[in-house]
């Protein structure tokens, strides 16, 4: 990865401590990392490694205990809750593992929801191109319950992209999908980064999923223990094996 590439988001000396009863748990321990604009980054790690916490803090879903979180020009660590919410709405896209969509809204209403919440006019052309690229054109009027799991995830991806966000965060986006559908989704995310310059950060424990990324970070006990550029499945398998050992 080129050092000169501009940064889309970064954390510096990020620490997150959860108070649990008597002993507090340090989920993320002094992590610093910069994510280049237009890159597709995978954050890997076994359960309890802190990968989800790191992502939550980076995406403004959770507050860091110490350290800075930068999204574009904003430092989320110093912003009030309302402003963070606004950043999430306008600058960040989300794709979750499951329960991405509001059951009462149609696919199209779900896609444009972030725009509506901010009162932004829907760019029809942009919407059409996203919907077209995801093959959802004939599904827009359906409700989530009438869509397959893969279609629901694609609606979620469309919603994440429609605001032209700085960064899209994806949390195990293929976790609830079969392998074929999951692969198609990963290919789409990869293409979004390569062809449209969309920055994407994906949390996954699956080496196969991570192999679609430009970069893979491995977390263990709240620290980054591996950082692979253009990881191959073999390299990733080795990394996972080393951590599991």
């Amino acid at each position: 990865m080129s050092v000169a590439a501009p940064t889309a988001c970064a954390v510096q000396h990020l620490t997150k401590v959860y108070p649990t009863g008597g002993a507090s748990v340090t989920a993320v321990d002094d992590v610093s990392v910069a994510i280049a604009k237009g890159s597709f980054t995978a954050i890997m790690g076994p359960s309890g490694s802190g990968k989800s916490t790191l992502m939550h803090c980076m995406a403004g879903l959770d507050r860091p205990t110490r350290g800075d979180v930068l999204i574009g020009e904003h430092n989320l660590a110093f912003m009030p809750e309302k402003a963070v919410t606004k950043v999430r709405r306008d600058r960040i896209g989300f794709v979750f593992q499951a329960f991405n969509l509001l059951p009462t809204l149609t696919a199209e209403q779900n896609i444009v929801l972030p725009l509506e919440l901010s009162g932004t006019r829907v760019d029809r052309e942009h919407l059409a191109s996203i919907v077209e690229s995801l093959g959802l054109a004939d599904r827009l009027g359906h409700r989530p319950s009438q869509l397959s799991g893969g279609q629901q995830q694609r609606v979620a991806v469309a919603r994440a992209l429609v605001t032209r966000p700085e960064v899209v965060f994806a949390d195990e986006p293929t976790g609830a999908l079969d392998r074929k559908t999951g692969t198609a989704l990963l290919e789409y995310l990869q293409a979004s980064a390569r062809d449209r310059g969309q920055t994407i950060i994906m949390v996954t424990h699956d080496p196969h999923a991570a192999s679609y990324a430009d970069r893979a970070l491995m977390l263990l006990d709240g620290r980054i223990v591996g950082d692979l550029d253009q990881p191959t499945p073999d390299e990733l398998a080795g990394l996972v094996g080393s951590v599991a050992a």
Partner: protein
Amino acid sequence: MLRQALSELRLRPGRFVATLIAIAISVGFIAAISVFISTEQAGTARANSMGLSQADLAVHSPDGVVSAELADAVARADGVAAAQPVLSRSTDVTAAERTVFATLWADVAPDFRWADLDEGRYPETAGEIAVSRDMADTLGVTVGDEVGLGGGSPAVVVGITRDAESLFASTGYIRPPAGTAADAEAIAVRLAPDADPDAAAAAVGNAVADDDLVVETAEEYRASRLVSITGEFDIFRNMLLGFAGVAVLVGMITIGNTFAILVTQRRRQLGLLRAVGATGGQVMGRLLTESLLLGLAGSLIGIGLGVAVAAVGTAFTGSIFWGIVVNWAELGIAVVVGVTATVASAVLPAVSAARVAPLAALQTVPSAAEARRAGLVRIIVAVLFLAGGGLLAVTALGGTGDLNIVYAVGAGGLLTIGVLGAAPLFVPALLSGMGRLFGGAGPTTRLALKNSARNPRRSAATATALMLAIGLVVTLQVGLASARTSGMDTIDREFPLDLAATYAAGVPAGTAERVEDTPGVESVAVLRGKPVQVDGAVFLAVDDRAARAAMGVEAEPIPDGIARFEEWAMPDSLTVDGTALDVQEGRLYGQSTFGVSEATLAALPGETTDVAVWVKLADRTDAAAVNAAVAALTADGNPDLSNSGAQMAGILEQVIDVVVIVMTALLGVAVAIAIVGVSNTLGLSVIERQRESALLRALGMQRGQLRGMLLIEALALAVVGIVVGVGAGVFFAWLGLTSAFAGVPGGVVQVRMTIEPMWTVALLGVCLAAAALASVLPGRRAANATPTQALAVE
């Protein structure tokens, strides 16, 4: 099973709070009524027999009246220390502008006094009065001041006593003029210290020598008085219990809805129970046990609440002076009603819980919306009820018989069941209609309206409770408002004059001017006339043409030689001083008065003077103005005021206002329960939608927007309940009034439908405000969902 149920209640108390409140309010209502009425009844009985509170024996007659003179004979009987007739009269007592209604007891012998003196002394002559502290405070008088006893005779306050306060009548003591014969309620008898009660009673019996009179102990007498007023109180009790029944019904809808929602939310838990081997019956039993415990807890809270409310109520009426009377059997019944209602409400949800398949435990995604189609059965049943109700309504409106009102009540009942039963059919439609109407107002509103319509049964049940409660209040309000308007119309027609004072001896000088200067008086007209002898009786002939014109009442000129009388006072013929006058029917004359033309009046013998004053008020229902004007009219004379409409209109206005306030408050309990139901439905829905709220927060919805969403959901439910409730209420009131008066011949009372905007708007405002308030806690809960919860896989 009991332990499991208890642990469920302990683990998630929040989910049951609203149910507990609904039960507690319903049972508390019943308990409050029971305690209040029992206490009032006992208090009234004690107050009524107050004259005998120091007596050992009572002599009374079955017809309720004994001669006061009997007391002397009784006093002479063996073993009797003293005897006194129990004499009291009810009258109004006035001081300056203030008036109280009072029971004045004749105070004769010191032995029979029951109240301690606060200051001063008991009256010793006819012109003196001792009043209770309560009356003194109300009138603003103290020892040495003068008060007027009904009819105008003055009395000087010589003492202030410590008596029970009473809402209805204050207590006072007077000394009747010596030698006045009177009918007493009873003869109070005190025995000599060493007298044998039985022997003394026999001696008293011999002394009165009248088999119709009863001699019994004062205690027996009081007990019989309590029984004699039970009937009157039972009417109140039953009426109030009717209102309590409505509250319980609305409570049941709310409770049933809560359990239905809880079963939906606990599908996985129930499925797990089934998976580890619980039978459907056991699952059902567990739910019913929970409801039983809940019902019991709520009912006991309700009893405490009810007794407290009754204590406050009886303190207000003053009956608490005699002690709170608790009828434990009735309270026991209230608890049984509360528990039964709760368990009965939980039966249907429990049955559906028993049907949860073990597989439900394995379903990870909770069913988003139970968009079940309304059953065909529901449609058919609702249509049948509506058709039956409609048919009865048409019968009630078309008929002329006495049964109209029965038909109308039947129609009301059937239509209510039909409308409420059909609620799941039209409530979602109304909600989505609102969604289309207000969808453009932004994503928050659109989401809120979609949410409120997502569980058709749940929102229908919530709105149903509100519809029922609001419908009843509006029926009552419109009914009473219309009754008032119709009554006012009748009074306006029959008594168009606000105040008419006829002075047999001529209008005292300065009266007209004094009235004219009274605030609230718009105009004054003085009638000229003269007293004439007709067959030995004195009649008043008046010329009221100018006065009628001034007052703006019907003024068809009277031709010369004609005398106009009230219809009911019309003689067959009239000859004054040898001159025969033709008799015609007229209005606004009253007793012993007739109208003639100016020329005819002049031709009659005697001198023409001012004989009557007519007054037009700016507002005839303004009690202060009426009182002031009457005071001005009666300052120097004692006129006949019987033709005045203002006092009657004022009383009607006040009575109806009080009735509306009381009834609205009573039915307001049902509205309150329905609003608790709204909060409950929202609260439970929010728990269910925790992840959804978190997702919205993750996607950038602000906390305020989320709270706003819940607010709009609450308002949407309230609006549906209000629209249907108000519509139904107005219709039922119209149906009831129209059919009730359709059978009245001659149209004596013309029904005018009236909606009193103040009452109804206030009701709706309170409902909307309460609904908004009901969304606060659920809204907070939803807004506090952290965005990360959306990512957690349950």
